[in-house]
């Protein structure tokens, strides 16, 4: 995390591709992609959401129809992060329609974004940034060797991915820069009011970091801490979204773009991006639903 610069927005950062391929990829896929991923040369766009899916990620309508040598893809993905900057995407398509069982018949693919039949349209966010895209597939052929894992097991694979997505440190890092700027602003000998807020933030950050580490430990031990990861994500997102509000309440600083101090600009960046924090990896309602299920309430 480069100090002094607002962190860049990654809704669905590409921390998934490596673990995914390690876990579900063919030997050939690993050899082809992992070295470039680990050198940081290759990033993947992530294509999960569709225009009408919202939080209901399994309601996927983009079809991948089995044809000779591969799959013929038709449909539209939205919120595809960095598709305009990436060579490949990891995408979830419907390979089989199973009536009333939307979680079945989905499969994961690696997609070469330069393939014929793909068109990419930018989505500009409210702050004027371009991180996301709508990706349209028309009779796009994806070769057989780009299927990841098993045909029809896509949902199971994806929920594992979401586990990673939900526990990662970007859960609390996006707003860390504002806390740092606040400390700088408050100076070495802050008043009681500023000190109390800095202490509050620190207590939460330290605890979130420990919670993330414990999920990582569980993952490394081969466990599948989906519930725990959802808890960490919910706690982290809720905290993160409180940060700009609490900082404003303390300082009354104006959130700025373009001009102003680093503090004001970081506040401006985060105020505008905070609404997106709870969208990455599932909305707050969906996450809390997962937790409630884990508690036995549903």
């Amino acid at each position: 995390l480069a100090a002094g610069a607002p962190v860049s927005a990654h809704w669905v950062a590409d921390r998934q591709s490596g673990p995914l391929l390690l876990r579900f990829g063919t030997e050939e896929q690993r050899q082809r992609f992992l070295p470039r991923i680990s050198r940081g040369e290759l990033a993947f766009a992530i294509g999960m959401s569709e225009p009408d899916s919202g939080s209901d990620l399994a309601s996927i309508r983009t079809r991948a129809e089995k044809v000779s040598g591969g799959y013929k893809v038709n449909g539209t993905k939205i919120w595809t992060s960095n598709a305009h900057l990436s060579e490949y995407a990891i995408a979830l398509f419907r390979t089989k329609v199973v009536p009333d069982k939307k979680h079945e018949g989905l499969s994961q693919f690696l997609v070469d974004l330069k393939s014929p039949g793909i068109s990419i349209r930018p989505i500009i966010d409210l702050a004027g940034g371009h991180h996301f895209n709508e990706v349209h597939f028309q009779d796009c052929l994806v070769p057989d060797d780009m299927l990841v894992g098993k045909d029809g097991e896509g949902w199971k694979q994806v929920t594992t991915e979401l586990g990673f997505e939900r526990s990662g440190p970007e859960r609390y890092l996006s707003s860390l820069q504002l806390v740092i700027e606040l400390i700088r602003e408050a100076g070495k000998e802050p008043g009681e009011r500023a000190a109390a807020l800095i202490g509050h933030f620190t207590a939460h950050l330290v605890t979130l970091r420990q919670m993330s580490l414990s999920i990582a430990t569980m993952l490394q031990a081969g466990q599948n801490p989906n519930l725990e990861a959802a808890v960490v994500k919910d706690v982290g997102t809720t905290f993160e979204q409180e940060i700009p509000e609490a900082v404003h309440a303390l300082t009354g600083a104006e959130p700025r773009i373009g001009s102003g101090t680093e503090f004001e600009k970081t506040l401006g960046y985060l105020v505008q991006h905070a609404p997106s924090f709870s969208l990455r990896g599932g909305t707050r309602e969906v996450l809390r639903g997962i937790i409630a299920r884990g508690l036995g309430l549903r």
Binding site: D56, E245, H248, G252, Q272, E285
Partner: protein, 356 residues
């Protein structure tokens, strides 16, 4: 709300519906002046509703001003309507006539000062003011300035200041203006119902109405969205969590509207020498808090779609985030209010509230 006010609301709604389209909002963010909108506002006497007719206004009340500003906030109208109203009032209270055309006020920061110097029978203005709303675009600027130890109100024409362009989160102009002996059109000693700091207090007042209006938009827009949008096979509105959140938003919206309305009501009731600072502080604190929480709820209800530039939600939420910080954020006004209440003593809290 009486009948006349209902009619006024309807007039505003119609006017803004016609003139504040997404295209107008997007163009304004690129620096284009919405001339048709401004012209319509002036033609309908909506730019100076509470300024006496004798001073160039529409001769209505501050309660009318509240209605117009609520509507302007609801539509995120990209013009200095609040600033013009405030400028006109500050002039009128000081016994000066208000000109036509968009105006603004300065300094917008409590710790900045301007000064007047005698030149013949008139005055010249010098000093630097940052973050002046629509500073470079306003045809006149009304300033509070020091004239040899006495505070005065002065009217200067636009174009006499060196302007550096700057902007708000909502990409509205917030320019730095530097005057160096600029000619003053008219000046008079500071007086009037907005108290000793009319730009600061009046700025907080008008922003509270705009925020209350913005919140009404957020609520209406969120209700509309969750009613139309389906997820997991049913409308979002059917989810209890969504319902509960929007009920909370409705509460903040109602509270913000009440707080702002009451402040305007007391300003209207208060004659010269009266003091509505208590209610203005209440309004700025309550609407500012509601704005922050309300923007969060509205964005949460809208999910990803509300995060796109294409969707109009952000025209209002970005303004709310700016407005709450301008002319004193909650942190400023709550400390001031708390000190005032504490100085009066614990036992005086309730009697004072009831006496207002």
């Amino acid at each position: 709300m009486n009948e006349l006010r209902t009619i006024l609301t309807e007039t505003c709604t119609r006017l803004f519906t016609d003139h504040v389209t997404t295209a107008v909002l997007e163009a304004a963010e690129k620096g284009e002046w919405p001339a048709a909108l401004w012209q319509a506002l002036e033609e309908n006497g909506l730019t100076l509703p509470q300024v006496p007719e004798a001073r160039g206004g529409a001769g209505g009340s501050w309660n009318d001003a509240f209605v117009v500003l609520m509507a302007a906030g609801r539509f995120a109208a990209p013009v200095p309507l609040a600033e013009t109203m405030l400028a006109g009032s500050i002039l009128a209270e000081a016994g000066l006539d208000a000109p036509l055309g968009p105006m603004t006020v300065a300094p917008a920061h409590i710790d900045e000062g301007l000064s007047l110097a005698r030149q013949g029978s008139g005055w010249t203005l010098s000093g630097r003011a940052t973050r002046v709303p629509w500073g470079a675009r306003a045809e006149h600027v009304v300033v509070v300035a020091d004239a040899g130890g006495s505070p005065m109100i002065a009217l200067v024409a636009g174009g006499h200041a060196k302007a550096e362009a700057d902007g708000s989160l909502a990409r509205e102009p917030r320019d730095t203006l530097v005057w160096s002996g600029a000619p003053v059109v008219a000046a008079a000693p500071l007086r009037g119902r907005l108290g000793p700091r009319p730009v600061w207090a009046g700025g907080a007042l008008v922003r509270s109405a705009q925020m209350a209006g913005g919140l009404e938009f957020l609520l209406a827009q969120s209700v509309k969205y969750v009613t139309e949008r389906k997820q997991f096979g049913r409308p979002l509105a059917a989810f209890q969590a969504i319902q509960q959140n929007l009920a909370l938003l409705a509460g903040h919206t109602a509270a913000a509207g009440m707080a702002a309305q009451q402040a305007f009501h007391v300003v209207e009731r208060t004659g010269e020498g009266g003091d509505a600072t208590f209610e203005i502080a209440v309004a700025k604190v309550r609407t500012g808090e509601a704005a922050g929480l309300g923007a969060g709820i509205a964005h949460q209800a809208h999910g990803a779609i509300g995060f796109t530039y294409e969707h109009s939600l952000h025209f209002v939420t970005r303004r709310l985030w700016s407005w709450r910080a301008e002319f004193g954020a909650e942190s400023h006004w709550s400390v001031a209010l708390g000190r005032e209440v504490a100085a009066r003593g614990a036992e005086a809290l309730w009697p004072h509230m009831v006496s207002r």
